[in-house]
């Protein structure tokens, strides 16, 4: 039995428990699903089907990563428990893509992609989800009933499936409007179409515009994709620069705080990654844009955010080693992966130790003080609006043009001075400047023309990847040396392990040399004449230009 796509919602259905009634709810007590059945009964024989596949009670848990990777890819993953067993079901637009039975699954517990049992669902989502964990996003308890639609011979030619669900999340439960679907019986497609047409004509019944999952989330007051690691601050070109900067910084603070719980629960390594990115962006914003904030505010917090960044570094460095461990082991030629096991064990031990320090820091009064006071100060700036101490405060657009242009010129100059003989530090410094430019572009993204923005960021990203590969390889080599020393000191380093670590260091040196070779090409593409023209186009766009009256575009 294949579930037909022709899903319908009854807008006279259920209502939120303790909330507002579902849109268009009717006052009459008659079950609207019964009204739909009455209409079908005029053209078909009807018979209740007991024990049909998919009928009865079922518990569903929808799963996604914290940053909604499945949702963004148009996928819905659910864990379903019925009287017949438990399974994971992956779908797109309500059409099943893959399913696999699972046992012993605890849907409320986050589960890393790599811990999923082998099967077709895992195969389809592993790369997309990794290294994130799957988290329960919402729950639904459903009662599904099936009615057979019969022809004159009493033969089942289609089925009406009625799904009555109550969705819940964070202790809030909402009864969803009943959902109807016509299931086609093989060889009788015309009858299913006919039944669907009849349903569509019933008053109060409308084709379902979204999946049950989307309906459930909306009813619960959530939106799929309500978290993103991007900046996405709501700023406009003519906004006072101080208000725009405060808005961007508040958005960064939101992201930072949203990730704290995931870091403390150690759900997956991306929580710490996103938290660190927020801290780095904040530090760059303070450095590059802090001048438009009230006197002393930026300076006071620069040191605090440096402390926060430093607090997170050791754990993240160890995460990076562990995340890349499989790939490192795969590239070994002389040594075997097994030789590296003591190294992995040591990394895990060190990570556990560093994580305790990190967690203590994030639970400390200092951390709470930083975030609380920073938010309060930023809200004051944002809400102060237009009144300006200075005669004429720049607009967000003017600030974007001046700071972005300056950051770009700095890169052109510094990068242009790099030769084959330049020390690694010159590339490290350029990487920092490139990061600052990238952040500026992201902060002011809403003010830029999307096409021009995409071109500039695309080239910049390639340059950053090259510089990142160069520096990360060098840093990792240094770290592996230090870790080897520490393992030796603690008698945790068998000779085979040290030799294997040596091979990794050698491979990193090769990667670094390749990145160094690649640099000239990447830099020329980004900062050469064509790249400079692209940047000019970006900053000259009317959207960001300032009109002669100074009101902004």
């Amino acid at each position: 039995m294949t579930l037909d796509l022709r899903g319908f919602e009854l807008d006279g259905g259920g209502e939120a428990n303790g909330g507002t009634p579902a849109a268009g709810s009717q006052t009459e007590t008659r079950d609207p699903a019964s009204a739909a059945l009455d209409v079908l009964a005029q053209s078909f024989g009807v018979a209740t089907e007991r024990g049909a596949a998919g009928s009865g009670n079922r518990q569903r848990t929808w799963l996604d990563t914290f940053d909604w990777r499945l949702n963004r890819a148009g996928l819905v993953l659910e864990y379903e428990r019925t009287e017949r067993g438990s399974r994971l079901l992956l779908s797109r637009d309500d059409l099943p893509l893959a399913e696999q039975p699972v046992t012993g699954w605890q849907p409320r517990r986050p589960r890393l992609a790599e811990d999923l049992p082998a099967g077709p669902v895992r195969d389809q989502i592993f790369k997309l989800v990794s290294p994130r964990a799957l988290l329960p996003v919402a729950w639904a308890a459903s009662t599904v009933s099936t009615t057979r639609l019969l022809n004159a011979d009493g033969k089942t030619v289609a089925r009406l499936i009625v799904d009555r669900s109550t969705a819940s999340r964070d202790g809030v439960s909402v009864q969803l409007p009943p959902r109807l679907a016509i299931a086609e019986v093989r060889g009788y497609p015309g009858q299913a179409r006919r039944a669907a047409r009849l349903l569509a004509g019933v008053s109060g019944v409308s084709p379902a515009s979204q999946s049950v999952f989307a309906t459930a989330l909306r009813a619960l007051g959530h939106h799929p994709g309500d978290y993103s690691g991007g900046v996405d601050a709501e700023i406009t070109a003519d906004m006072p620069a101080s208000v725009a900067v405060a808005t961007v910084l508040l958005r960064l603070l939101d992201t930072l705080e949203l990730n704290v719980d995931g870091v403390l629960r150690d759900i997956d390594t991306e929580f710490l990654h996103d938290l660190r990115v927020s801290v780095r962006r904040t530090r760059s914003a303070i450095k590059l844009l802090g001048g438009v904030l009230p006197d002393g505010l930026a300076g006071a917090y620069a040191a605090e955010f440096k402390w926060l960044g430093d607090l997170t570094t050791p754990t993240r460095d160890l995460d990076v080693h562990l995340l890349g461990f499989g790939a490192m082991a795969d590239h070994l030629v002389a040594a075997s992966a097994a030789d590296l096991e003591p190294f992995r064990a040591y990394l895990l031990w060190r990570r556990a130790r560093e994580f305790r320090r990190l967690a203590a820091g994030l639970r400390s009064a200092r951390f709470k003080g930083i975030t609380d006071h920073w938010r309060k100060a930023l809200v004051e700036v944002r809400d102060a609006g237009r009144p300006r101490k200075r005669l004429r405060e720049p607009t967000a657009a003017e600030l974007a043009i001046s700071t972005t242009g300056r950051a770009f010129r700095k890169i052109v100059a510094k990068g242009g001075a790099i030769t084959q003989d330049s020390p690694p530090e010159s590339l490290h410094d350029l990487r920092k400047r490139a990061k600052e430019l990238r952040y500026l572009l992201e902060f002011f993204a809403p003010l830029h023309d999307p096409v021009a923005y995409k071109k500039v960021v695309g080239d910049l990203k390639q340059l950053q990847d090259c510089l990142g590969e160069f520096q990360d390889s060098q840093v990792q080599r240094g770290e592996i040396h230090e870790l080897a020393d520490a393992m030796l000191a603690e008698h945790a380093a068998p000779a085979a392990t040290l030799l294997a670590m040596g091979e990794i260091v050698a491979n990193l040196a090769i990667s670094q040399a390749e990145a160094r070779e690649d640099f000239s090409l990447r830099f020329a593409k980004f900062a050469g004449p064509a790249g400079q023209q692209r940047m000019r186009t970006l900053l000259d766009e009317p959207a960001i230009g300032v009109d002669p009256d100074g009101a902004g575009a």
Binding site: M1, N151, D153, G154, K155, T156, V185, R186, G187, Y188
Partner: protein, 255 residues
């Protein structure tokens, strides 16, 4: 995919009731099951309330102008599909004969693409010895032969076994089972006991002659559906368990 064919040269011996009930039990056990009603009388189609009609008729199916897949109908039961009968099947011998290359292997060839979709296929054959029945014997893994316990029936089984033994290459396993057994008749008892003692390949479970089985044509459903706790349903379940257990034996294990 395992293909079972209910076959007997005689009519009215319980081929269709066996095919319908066994196919339903197979589906209920979770096997994706197809029943092909090859009998132009369309009794199996009738019992599943499916119109005995195939667009383009038997000729289109056999000649491949209509894919078997497109003619299949879902029954009212999960995992169970039906390929309905068509009155043109009465000319099936002519149609098959017109197919010049290996006319006795055509049905086997048509079923091959369905292997990924179905675990078990049941062929309900018309009574006769013909090109159709020879096709069915080549397509089947298990030839299910309903036997009314009479001396003539036993003779027919012998002839059939001998005929199949003459096949070159792959031969179906011949599994007989007693059908329409009336325990009040001395002859039925004697023949049943004798044959079970003397012959291998005969199922131990007999299907009794019961009016409830005849009621299938009134209820238009397998007896295992409308009277699941009846003696008749129990007998079909036991017979299916025997057949299914045989089928699940490893290939190298002696039968």
């Amino acid at each position: 995919m395992t293909t079972y064919a209910t076959y007997n040269i005689k009519g009215g011996v319980g081929k269709t009731t066996a095919a319908v009930n066994l196919a339903h039990l197979s589906a209920a056990d979770g096997y994706r099951t197809l029943l092909w009603d090859l009998d132009p009388q369309g009794a199996a189609s009738f019992l599943f309330r499916v119109k005995p009609r195939v667009k383009g008729g038997g000729k289109a199916l056999i000649r491949g102008t209509k894919a078997l897949d497109d003619a299949i109908k879902g029954t009212d039961f999960e995992n169970l599909d039906l390929l309905p009968a068509d009155f043109t099947y009465r000319n099936m011998d002519l149609i098959l004969g017109g197919h010049d290359k290996k006319p006795t292997r055509k049905i086997a060839q048509l079923l091959r693409p369905l292997a990924a979709e179905y675990d078990n296929v049941f062929l309900d054959c018309p009574p006769s010895i013909s090109l159709v029945s020879e096709n069915v014997m080549h397509a089947a893994d298990v030839l299910l032969v309903p036997l009314i316990p009479t001396t003539l029936s036993v003779r027919t089984l012998d002839q059939l076994t001998e005929f199949v033994a003459g096949f070159n290459g792959r031969q179906p396993e011949v599994r007989a089972f007693f059908s329409m057994v009336d325990r009040r008749k001395r002859l039925h008892q004697d023949i049943t006991e004798e044959l079970l003692a003397e012959r291998s390949g005969v199922a131990a479970t007999p299907i009794p002659a019961l009016s409830l089985i005849e009621r299938m044509s009134v209820e238009r459903a397998p007896v295992t559906v409308f009277a699941p706790r009846s003696q008749a349903a129990r007998a079909f379940r036991e017979l299916w368990a025997e057949l299914n257990a045989d089928d699940e034996k490893p290939a190298d294990e002696p039968a």
